[in-house]
Amino acid sequence: MKKKRSLKLTKQKDGYSVIFNAMASPCEVLIQTQNKPLVIKIAEMVSKEVWRIEDKYSRYDSLSVCSQINTSGGKKTIIDEETYLLLNFAEQCYQLSDGLFDITSGVLRKTWSFDGAFDKKTGECKNFPSLIDVKNFLSFVGWTRVNYDQKSITLPQGMELDFGGIGKEYAVDRSILLAKNLTNDPVLVNLGGDLAVTGPRNDNKSWQVAIEHPDCDSLGQQQDMIVALNQGALATSGDARRYLIKDGVRYGHVLNAKTGWPINHAPRSITTVAPQCIQAGILATLALLQGKHAEDFLTEQDITFWARR
């Protein structure tokens, strides 16, 4: 079931590109250097780190720390410092979003399967859940019921943790830290659209980043937007790939952890810029959770962003 893990190096005009697969996304590392041994070193280090985080926090991997916590059956599980820090971060996101962002809401996937499976005739979603379905699963959602401290976590039976909302962005930031340790050359790490750079390109030029438009135009062509990035990170939150259509209404995959339903009137996608990827990612998600006030929220916070409705 796991894809074979491999790296692909490609020489480009003024640097190298490294491609690999992780966290169910295409991942790319761009290094602006002619030093091939250095590129190999960085590539191995970054991919190893990304795969390490995936192995540790993926809820789809039965051997991961996330899965072990999720199958602990209400018993206390010992955690290490990294997990503790991530839980702290999730706690803060819970507080800042007034409970809308909740990493225990992953259990709702059992009722919401955002796979785009639709009835060929009506074009509508096949497996749309009922109110009762959602209510049942909602009883297993609630960050306040998670008990943790720096040594251990106790997750009530039936509840699950989902690091999906922060895992990829965290991996990007960790990769940038490691890359910075190894070299002063400009590096860009892009994990499925969540990306960050170590700094501007050589000669103080900015990185040109393309943001995908959620819809294709009538010809099936992607409508991209080009953004110039000098430093920091960029993250996108949205329903580009995961959505349901029911009664003509499009439901994005970002769920309101309090009601169990997708957020109403959220933009199709939000891309934010912030000093770190995890910050950008959370801000994008927090914005989406504001539904129709998404853009106002980001404006008030003085964040650079692009929203598509």
Binding site: L85, N88, E91, Q92, Q95, D149, Q150
Partner: protein
């Protein structure tokens, strides 16, 4: 002369209330922002480290307490002084 001096002082003092009021407002603003001393649960990253525990090495503390209980006239303070042994 005296009266002039007094007037001068009064005038001078009148400038201060504005500053004091601003300072007070800032303090009140700060206090309402953090209702009292302490941290939010997510700010406990450093405090959670073993080195930040009040007694980061209980075994060292127990060994030292025993030495000082035997060689000096004081004991305890941080924990029970105790009887414990026939050392003093």
């Amino acid at each position: 002369m005296k009266i002039n001096k007094l007037t001068f002082e009064v005038n001078y003092k009148n400038h201060k209330p504005k500053f004091k009021l601003t300072l007070l407002a800032l303090i009140v603003a700060n206090l309402t922002a953090c209702s009292s001393l302490g941290v939010e649960p997510w700010e406990r990253d450093l405090l959670a480290k073993k080195e930040m525990a009040l007694t980061s090495s209980p075994v060292d503390a127990a060994l030292d307490d025993h030495i000082y209980f035997s060689k000096e006239a004081s004991s305890g303070g941080k924990s029970f002084g105790g009887g414990g042994c026939g050392c003093n």
